[in-house]
C-alpha cells in the first residue's frame, strides 16, 4: 500500500506501524462518573466497518508522525490522510 503522507507525499506502508481505529485518540476523562465504562468501550469495542475506516498509522521508519488515515477496508482505497496531531486537536484534545 501507498500512504500519501501529508508532509512527505506517497510513502510505502511498509515504513509504517499500524495501530488501529482512530477512535483511540478519544481517550476518556479519568474523572468521569462512568470512567470505567467509558474506558472499557474506548479500549475494547470497535465499529469495525466494512468500508471507510479512520485508523492510526505511525511512520516509524520515516518521520515518526502518527497519521490518521481514512481507508476503505474492502478495497483498501485511501480516501484521506492527516497528521494525527492535527486530528487530535480537532477533536478537542490538548494537554
Amino acid at each position: 500500500m501507498i500512504i500519501n503522507h501529508p508532509i512527505l507525499g506517497p510513502r510505502d506502508s511498509q515504513e509504517f506501524t499500524y495501530l488501529g481505529d482512530a477512535a483511540l485518540i478519544d481517550r476518556p476523562d479519568w474523572q468521569a462518573e462512568d470512567a470505567a465504562d467509558q474506558f472499557h468501550d474506548y479500549l475494547y469495542l470497535r465499529d469495525n466497518p466494512a468500508g471507510a475506516h479512520r485508523e492510526l498509522w505511525f511512520h516509524e521508519q520515516g518521520d515518526r508522525s502518527w497519521l490518521v488515515v481514512t481507508r476503505n477496508t474492502v478495497t483498501h482505497e485511501i480516501l484521506n490522510v492527516e497528521l494525527a496531531r492535527d486530528a487530535a486537536r480537532a477533536r478537542g484534545r490538548s494537554k
Binding site: 500500500m1 501507498i2 510505502d12 506501524t17 495501530l19 483511540l24 485518540i25 481517550r27 476518556p28 479519568w30 474523572q31 470512567a35 470505567a36 474506558f39 472499557h40 479500549l43 492510526l56 505511525f58 516509524e60 515518526r64 508522525s65 502518527w66 478495497t75 483498501h76 482505497e77 485511501i78 497528521l83 494525527a84 496531531r85 486530528a87 487530535a88 486537536r89 484534545r93 490538548s94 494537554k95
Partner: protein, 1008 residues
C-alpha cells in the same frame, strides 16, 4: 534509465535461417525459426545426452530430438508430454539441475536451454518409461474424485499408521535435495509512470507510444524473447515479418533512456495502489550465476499506471485419452514450428472448434510437415489447403502407449476414421490472461462472442487492459489498443502521447463455436491433466452436490495443479454448467490469486538468509568481549555477552557463579548499552512522564533518578526502567532492551495523539552512549580511579539514585547514574559510543587491583533474581502492578495510562497472583522456571494450579537453586511449603515460599 540491462543475444540470430548444423539426431528439427542454428548446446535428460541450440527451451530441444514423453501425471502416473509452449504447462515438469541447485517441477517449456543443462523426470519409479505407480491407472475406477473421503476410516489407527504414509509417499511431484541452495537472490525497487505487462504486439506498441512521449516506462515479459505470439506466428506487421518488427521495436525501446526493457521478468502479482511484484530471472539461463551475482531478483515496481498486455492462453478440448504425449495445444504446435523450428512429429493432425486451428495446419504444411487431418467441430468449417478436412467431426479417442500413434475421429456422417498422427494439435479457443485483474478480487465477465471471460468489474487501481488479454485477439487490435491504452493512461498523468501511424497487421475476426468436451466414449477425458481430473470426476461431483465452482475445485482438485488452472478451469466450468443446465457464468467464474506463476522461496527471501536474516546489533564492547572469548546470546537483534569463560572453566555455571560472586564480593562490569534510552525534553516533560508512568514523576528533583513502571491502557504492566532528571525540562528515560522500540512508539502516540498540546520533544539516544554497569562493593573505588578527580562521587556527594554529568579518563564527557539492578552498590557510566571500546578496557584496567570481572547476561539474570527484580519473564503481558507487588505504586491521584482499567474486579481478586520467591526445601534440588505451583497436598492438576515460576537460577550466594514467580495470594503465604511441579521433564520439588528479595532485602548495600 541508461543502464537498462537486456540480453540482446537472442536478436543476433533472429534472422538466421541457416539450418546446416541442425539436422542429424534432431529428427524433428525444421527450417527457419528464431534459434541459433550455429550454436549447439549439449544437455541431458534422464542421463541421456542430447543436443539443441541457443534459443531452444528444454521442451523444444527434446521435441527436436524426437522425445515426446517428458513426465507423469500426479495420480494415475499417466505418461505425458508437453501440452503447451509456455509457463502454463501442466505436464512436462522436470527436476532441473542437481545438488543444492536441484529445482523440482520446472516447466520444460520455459526452461531456457544452456550448455550443460541437466534435467531429470520426476514422480516416477524406476524410470519414466516404466513407472511402477502407473498401476494406479488400472484402478482409476476406484480412485475417483473424493474417494478418499469415503474410506480409509477403519480401523481408526490405520489412517496415520498405514494409509496416510503410503499416500504421502506416493504423492507430490518433484523432490528437493535437502542441500542448502548455494545461489544468492536480490530484491530491488523500481518506479515508473507506466508499467507494461507483456511484450507482445500490444505491450510493445504501448511501450513505444509511451516511451516516445518521454514517460518513464517499464516493459516486462516472462519470456526471454520479446514479441509474444508474433514469434510464434507467420503473419507480418507492415512490410516486416512479425519477428523483424519486434526486433525493430525492441531496438527503439532499448535506445530510449526512459524505457527499461525487462525480458525474463514475470509480473507475479498486482498489489495495492499500483505496486507490482516482478521476478527477473537473471541467471536461470546459464549453468550457474557469476560469483556474487543473484540468480533471480524480486522487483517491487511502484507504477503510477499499469497496462496488462499479457495476451491469451489457449484451452484444450476434452476427449477420451486426450492426454497422450503428442496431444498438444494447436498454438503451441505452431509456436514450436515457427519459433523453434521443431515439429513434435512428422505427421500431425489438428482438432479445433475455431479458425485458429487452421493456422496450425497451414503453417505446418508450409514447413513440410504432413498434416493428416483437420478435424473441425464446426459443420461450416472453412476449407484447408493441403490437408483433409473433417467438418462437423470430433476426435473421440486416441491410441499409443508412451506417445500418440493415431486418433479416432467420429465424422459428421456418424462413421469413424482412425487418423495416424504422432501429434494432435488441439484448439478450443483462447482465454484472455485476466489473472492480474483478479488479484484484487476483480471478477471477470463472460463474453459470449469469443466464449471467454474478459476483465471486468473492479480492476486494480490504475490498471488498464489491452489486446488479447482484453479479448481483442487480432494483431491489428493489439497494436491499436496498446497505443490507445498508453495514451489514455499517460493523459491521466498529464503526459501527452501521440498515436502515430499504426502499421498494418492481420485483423481476422474470432470465429469460434464453443465446444468443450466430447461426450462420446466410456473412457476418461482429461480436464486437469496434471491432477488427473476427468469429465467423469466433474459428473460425480455434480451428482454429489459439489456444484459451485468452489466446491467443484475443492472436491475434484480441478485447477489446483501447478498451472493454477490455466489450462483446466474453463473446461471444468463448462462441463459443470452443462450438467447443471446453466450458463457458464452462472456456475461461477474462476478467480486467480497471486502469484501469476509460482515463485521461489529464494527470491522472496532475497538476502535475508542465514546470518543475514535480520540485522545484528553489536554493543560497544563487542570486540573486546570477543577477545575475552565471551559467549554471546541474541537479545532481540542485539548480541550480548552471556558469560566470559576463564581458562579451566568447563561448564558455563562455573563462569557465571564466579562472575556473580566476584561482583557481589568486589566489583563486576557489564555492558548495558542495549537498554533503550529516550531523551525527553520540553516545558511539559515532567507532566508528560507523569501520564506515562504509573507512579508519580512530577516532583522528581533535578539530579535524581527514579524507577518507573509503565502500564498499558488495560492496566497490565509492560515495561519498567528509570527516568533521570537532568534539568527541569530534561529527562532521560530508560526502557528494557526488548521494549525500546515499543516504548518510544507509545510515547510518540501519547505525545501526538493524546496530549498534542504538551510541549514535549522525544528522541532515542540508545546508540549514542556506551553504558556500563559497575556493580559491587568496590564499584565506587573503581570509578573514582576513572572519573576525573574534580567530580566528587562519594556517597554523600553522589547518593543512591543520583545522576550527573562528569568527565572520565582525563576529560572524556560521561554521564553517571547511581542505580542498581544487581542490588549492590552500583553505578552506570556512559560515554560517547566511540569511546566505549576504550572505556571497557579502561574500566577493566582500573579494576584490576579489585579483581574486577566482566559479567554477562547470565550473571545479570542471577543477580536480579536474587534481588527479586522483575524482568521480561515477569512482565509477560498478563501481569499487573498488583501481581508484581507494586500495586501501591499506581497513583490514584493522577491520570496515567492504565490506572482506570487496572481497577477492574478481575484484576483485583483476593487470590490474585503475587510475585514471591521460592527456595527448595532440599537445597540440592533444582527449581525450574516454567514449573507450576501446587499446594503441599492434594491432586496435581490444572484445577488445583496455584501459579507458576517465572525465573529461576542457581544462586552462588545462597548456594541454592532459587526462583521467583507468581503464586495465588502469594504474599500472605510466606513460609508455606508447596510443590513446584514440572511433569514435562518429570520433576517435582518441594519449595518454601519466601520473599522475592533473597539478597539484602533491606537494600542496605545499594545505599552504602
Amino acid at each position: 534509465m541508461t543502464d537498462a540491462v537486456i540480453n540482446t543475444g537472442a536478436m543476433a540470430f533472429r534472422a538466421d535461417g541457416s539450418n546446416g548444423a541442425r539436422k542429424g539426431v534432431q529428427v524433428n528439427r525444421l527450417d527457419g525459426g528464431l534459434i541459433n542454428g550455429a550454436r549447439k548446446l549439449g544437455f541431458s535428460f534422464d542421463g541421456k545426452r542430447y543436443e539443441g541450440h541457443e534459443g531452444d527451451t528444454l521442451a523444444s530441444a527434446l521435441l527436436a530430438n524426437g522425445v515426446r514423453l517428458m513426465g507423469r501425471s500426479f495420480k494415475y502416473h499417466r505418461p505425458r508430454g508437453p501440452l503447451t509452449s509456455g509457463s502454463e504447462e501442466p505436464n512436462a515438469l522436470v527436476e532441473l539441475r542437481s545438488g543444492g541447485r536441484q529445482e523440482p517441477n520446472t516447466r520444460a517449456t520455459v526452461a531456457e536451454l544452456y550448455d550443460g543443462l541437466e534435467a531429470n523426470s520426476q514422480n516416477r519409479w524406476p524410470s519414466l518409461q516404466h513407472d511402477f505407480m502407473a498401476i494406479n491407472d488400472r484402478f482409476s475406477n476406484f480412485l475417483t474424485a473424493g474417494f478418499y473421503y469415503k474410506t480409509f476410516m477403519w480401523p481408526a489407527a490405520f489412517w496415520e499408521k498405514l494409509y496416510e504414509p503410503i499416500i504421502r509417499k506416493a504423492a507430490g511431484l518433484g523432490s528437493i535435495s535437502f542441500e542448502d541452495d548455494p545461489d544468492a537472490y536480490d530484491k530491488g525497487f523500481l518506479h515508473c509512470d507506466l508499467l507494461v505487462i507483456g511484450a507482445g504486439p500490444t505491450g510493445l506498441m504501448a511501450a513505444l507510444t509511451a516511451g516516445r512521449a518521454g514517460a518513464q516506462v517499464i516493459i516486462a515479459d516472462e519470456d526471454f524473447l520479446l514479441g509474444g505470439r508474433l514469434n510464434a506466428e507467420t503473419f507480418g506487421i507492415g512490410d516486416l515479418a512479425g519477428s523483424a518488427w519486434v526486433e525493430q521495436a525492441q531496438a527503439e525501446l532499448v535506445s530510449m533512456p526512459n524505457v527499461r526493457v525487462m525480458p525474463r521478468t514475470t509480473i507475479i502479482g498486482a498489489f495495492d495502489h499500483g505496486i507490482y511484484g516482478a521476478v527477473e530471472r537473471t541467471a536461470d539461463h546459464v549453468l550457474a550465476p557469476e560469483a556474487g551475482k543473484p540468480r533471480q531478483i524480486l522487483w517491487r515496481i511502484y507504477s503510477k499506471r499499469a497496462m496488462l498486455a499479457a495476451g491469451a492462453t489457449e484451452r484444450p478440448i476434452a476427449f477420451e485419452n486426450n492426454d497422450r504425449p503428442g496431444v498438444m495445444l494447436a498454438g503451441a504446435v505452431r509456436a514450436y514450428a515457427n519459433r523453434w523450428a521443431v515439429t513434435p512429429d512428422q505427421t500431425v493432425a489438428v482438432f479445433t472448434n475455431n479458425d485458429d486451428g487452421h493456422r496450425t495446419a497451414a503453417d505446418l504444411i508450409a514447413k513440410g510437415v504432413k498434416v493428416t487431418a483437420v478435424v473441425d467441430t464446426r459443420a461450416d468449417a472453412p476449407a484447408v489447403e493441403g490437408a483433409e478436412l473433417f467438418a462437423g467431426a470430433q476426435v473421440i479417442d486416441t491410441k499409443g502407449r508412451l506417445g500418440l500413434e493415431w486418433a479416432r475421429v467420429r465424422l459428421a456422417n456418424g462413421t469413424t476414421r482412425d487418423v495416424p498422427c504422432g501429434a494432435l494439435a488441439v484448439s478450443g479457443g483462447w482465454n484472455p490472461n485476466v489473472h492480474l485483474t483478479c488479484h484484487q478480487r476483480g471478477r471477470p465477465a463472460w463474453r459470449e462472442d469469443i466464449a471467454a471471460f474478459v476483465p471486468a468489474g473492479d480492476l486494480p487501481q490504475n490498471l488498464s487492459v489491452a489486446g488479447a488479454a482484453n479479448g481483442d485477439f487480432s494483431t491489428a487490435a493489439a497494436l491499436r489498443t496498446g497505443a490507445e491504452g498508453a495514451i489514455a493512461a499517460l493523459s491521466e498523468l498529464g503526459i501527452e502521447a501521440k498515436a502515430g501511424d499504426l502499421p498494418k497487421a492481420e485483423d481476422a475476426p474470432v470465429n469460434v463455436t464453443p465446444f468443450w468436451y466430447v461426450k462420446e466414449g466410456k473412457g476418461r477425458a482429461w480436464l486437469d491433466q496434471q491432477n488427473d481430473v476427468t469429465v467423469k470426476d466433474v459428473k460425480l461431483a455434480h451428482q454429489e452436490n459439489f456444484r459451485s465452482v468452489e466446491h467443484l475445485k475443492r472436491y475434484t482438485t480441478l485447477g489446483m495443479a501447478t498451472d493454477q488452472g490455466k489450462t483446466s478451469n474453463m473446461g471444468g466450468l463448462a462441463v459443470m454448467a452443462e450438467l447443471a443446465g446453466k450458463q457458464i457464468p452462472e456456475v461461477g467464474t474462476t478467480m486467480f490469486r497471486p502469484p501469476y506463476t509460482p515463485v521461489s522461496f529464494g527470491v522472496m527471501a532475497g538476502r535475508s538468509v542465514g546470518e543475514e536474516f535480520r540485522p545484528t546489533r553489536k554493543t560497544p564492547s563487542h570486540k573486546w568481549a570477543e577477545e575475552q572469548g565471551a559467549e554471546f546470546v541474541e537479545v532481540g537483534q542485539w548480541l550480548r555477552a552471556q558469560w566470559f569463560p576463564k581458562s579451566g572453566e568447563t561448564h558455563w555455571r562455573q563462569s557465571v557463579d564466579r562472575e556473580v560472586l566476584q561482583t557481589r564480593n568486589s566489583v563486576g562490569i557489564c555492558d548495558v548499552t542495549t537498554l533503550g534510552k529516550i531523551d525527553v525534553q520540553g516545558k511539559d516533560a515532567a507532566a508528560f512522564l507523569n501520564k506515562l508512568y504509573a507512579n508519580a514523576f512530577a516532583k522528581l528533583a533535578v539530579g535524581k533518578v527514579r524507577y518507573g513502571l509503565m502500564l498499558r491502557e488495560d492496566g497490565i504492566a509492560y515495561d519498567d526502567g528509570t527516568a533521570a532528571r537532568f534539568a527541569e525540562d530534561h529527562f532521560v528515560v530508560t526502557t528494557t532492551t526488548a521494549n525500546a522500540v515499543l516504548v518510544y512508539r507509545n510515547m510518540e502516540f501519547a505525545r501526538q495523539c493524546l496530549f498534542p498540546d504538551m510541549d514535549v520533544q522525544l528522541i532515542s539516544t540508545t546508540e549514542a552512549w556506551a553504558q556500563f554497569a559497575v556493580a559491587g562493593p568496590n564499584s565506587r573505588k573503581l570509578l573514582q580511579k576513572v572519573v576525573d578527580s574534580e567530580f566528587d562521587i562519594s556517597n554523600e556527594a553522589f547518593p543512591f539514585m543520583g545522576c550527573g554529568e562528569v568527565t572520565v579518563a582525563g576529560g572524556c564527557r560521561a554521564r553517571l547514574f547511581r542505580i542498581s539492578f544487581s542490588g549492590e552498590l552500583a553505578y552506570e557510566i556512559a560515554v560517547p559510543t566511540r569511546y566505549g571500546d576504550a572505556m571497557i578496557r579502561k574500566l577493566m584496567e582500573a579494576g584490576e587491583e579489585f579483581g574486577a570481572v566482566p559479567y554477562g547476561t547470565e550473571a545479570l539474570g542471577v543477580m536480579r533474581i536474587e534481588k527479586g527484580h522483575a524482568a521480561g519473564n515477569e512482565l509477560n503481558g498478563t501481569t499487573s502492578a498488583l501481581n508484581l507487588g507494586m500495586g501501591r505504586m499506581v497513583s490514584k491521584k493522577k491520570d496515567c495510562i492504565g490506572n482506570t482499567l487496572s481497577e477492574r474486579e478481575g484484576m483485583n481478586r483476593e487470590d490474585a497472583l503475587k510475585l514471591v520467591g521460592f527456595k527448595p526445601v532440599d537445597s540440592s534440588a533444582t527449581v525450574y522456571a516454567g514449573a507450576h505451583l501446587m499446594n503441599a497436598d492434594g491432586e496435581v492438576s490444572a484445577a488445583t494450579d496455584q501459579g507458576y515460576i517465572t525465573s529461576a537460577a542457581y544462586s552462588p550466594v545462597l548456594e541454592s537453586s532459587i526462583g521467583i514467580g507468581f503464586l495465588k495470594n502469594g504474599d500472605a503465604r510466606k513460609g508455606e511449603v508447596i510443590r513446584a511441579v514440572n511433569p514435562l521433564e518429570g520433576h517435582e520439588t518441594q519449595v518454601e515460599v519466601v520473599s522475592a528479595h533473597f539478597v539484602d532485602p533491606e537494600g542496605e548495600r545499594l545505599r552504602g
